[in-house]
């Protein structure tokens, strides 16, 4: 059995509100009543476990996992980081799923009507498990910005979607990673919905250590999930 230690609450200073009118879709979708506080019970403290058998050999490499007759067009990048809890401890063997637009800003999704080209060699989805130190690593191409209809001349900054479980059902996190220096960040109501002091945590940083010579530039994006409510005691007590 895994840890049954309760987790710290979601930090309201870190997360966006339910309704942020500048992001129009929240107006009719964000709940209006206060969340009902309840204690964490067994189902909250457990989580589905995926092993290596669930992950294909190329699942982490978006430049190869959908290649048909060549490589995807675009600026090849490595995106890597550590998944940690609030105590700074690695979250091991947890599933990280990502998805993104292609270099032209077009999603494979059937409802995406943006008239930018699809890339026959790029699907835009990947997954991997973190290692013993909490590291995940993907190879992909830098996604392009794309227009949306939230407001006049609205463009989403380049971003990669992330989905994680962490050690328990309550540590689930769905988020987006952005790129440093993107001028669209200042105009994006989804990014701006996050409290100002927390926004920079969603921006990856260029990392020469992760950059692979003659191959790809590297971006570092660490992710912090809810940590234990009590100081953890090592196994074997």
């Amino acid at each position: 059995m895994r840890s049954r230690i309760p987790f710290r609450p979601r930090d309201p200073a870190s997360h966006p509100p339910m309704i942020h009118p500048d992001y129009r879709s929240t107006v009719l979708r964000g709940p209006t009543r206060p969340l009902v506080p309840v204690p964490q019970t067994l189902g909250d403290l457990t989580v589905p476990v995926y092993g290596h058998e669930a992950i294909g050999e190329l699942d982490h490499d978006l430049t190869r996992n959908a290649a048909r007759n060549g490589e995807p067009i675009g600026e090849r990048i490595v995106v890597a980081g550590r998944v940690l809890d609030e105590e700074g401890r690695p979250v091991r063997r947890t599933l990280v799923e990502i998805w993104q637009a292609n270099a032209a800003g077009r999603y494979v999704h059937r409802r995406d009507q943006h008239h930018a080209p699809l890339d026959p060699n790029f699907h835009g989805a990947g997954r991997c498990l973190t290692d013993e130190e909490g590291w995940y690593r993907f190879v992909t191409v830098r996604p392009g910005p794309y227009p949306w209809r939230n407001h006049a001349n609205a463009w989403r900054p380049s971003h990669i979607h992330f989905s994680l479980f962490g050690p328990a059902f309550v540590t689930r996190l769905v988020t987006q990673m952005y790129f440093p220096g993107d001028p669209l960040l200042a105009h994006d109501p989804i990014f701006q919905a996050v409290p100002a002091a927390a926004r920079e945590r969603l921006v990856a940083r260029f990392d020469l250590e992760l950059t692979r010579p003659e191959f790809a530039t590297g971006y570092r994006f660490d992710i912090v999930l809810r940590g234990p409510a009590e100081t953890p005691v090592e196994a074997g007590r």
Binding site: S14, L28, L35, L42, G43, E97, I98, V174, I223
Partner: protein, 195 residues
């Protein structure tokens, strides 16, 4: 030592299907909408419902995830735990009408915070375009009135709102079906938990 600060949540956006529920795109999914197989012990049932917004319109791009114990009240969470016949976790993206559907078994009772058994329930995590934070709720079963009345979590919910957490039973073509609609807003706004 100072604690690290949590990474902020962002919306799942409208275009997650080709990554998180990718069968329709020809890719293998981590989880489908059946956390069980035909051989899984327990009472087999269907849970279906719709996700609706504050105008009563269908939410056509929500991701509904469920996590539950097996019929004996055990979670399949340990590495090598569970079994080929019981995963306990499932995902379903809503369709143009906001509909989702799961085929599963009725979960057994699980001890609650004070050690007493809780009523059978299924944990739900909901994300969608327009949800900047995922939402947690629970599905309880209409035909467990006695257990529901004593459930330590339900008892924390104002009585007038408990009904939003109760799946309604129906029989259809011999199958046991429970109906569970999720209202993001409005008079019947579903109870979502701070957990």
């Amino acid at each position: 030592m100072t604690r690290l600060r949590q990474t902020p949540s962002q919306t799942v956006g409208p275009y997650f299907a080709y990554a998180l529920t990718p069968e329709a795109y020809g890719y293998a999914a981590i989880a489908g909408n059946r956390p069980v197989t035909a051989e899984t012990p327990g009472r087999h049932l269907v849970i279906e419902g719709r996700v609706l917004d504050g105008a009563g319109d269908p939410v056509e791009d929500a991701l509904v995830e469920i996590w539950q114990a097996d019929a004996r009240g055990r979670y399949a969470d340990a590495p090598g735990g569970g079994s080929a016949d019981f995963v306990g976790f499932a995902r379903c993206g809503t369709d143009a009408e906001g509909r989702f559907r799961f085929e599963t078994v009725k979960p057994g009772r699980v001890p609650g915070p004070d050690g007493r058994l809780m009523a059978p329930h299924i944990h739900v995590c909901l994300t969608a375009r327009g949800l900047l934070n995922h939402l947690f709720t629970r599905i309880y079963f209409e035909d467990e009135a006695e257990a529901n009345a004593a459930d330590p979590i339900l008892s924390l919910v104002p009585e007038s709102r408990r009904g939003t957490l109760i799946a309604r039973r129906a029989h259809r073509h011999g199958a046991l079906v429970y109906r569970f609609d999720i209202h993001l807003q409005g008079e019947r706004e579903t109870v979502f938990f701070e957990v």
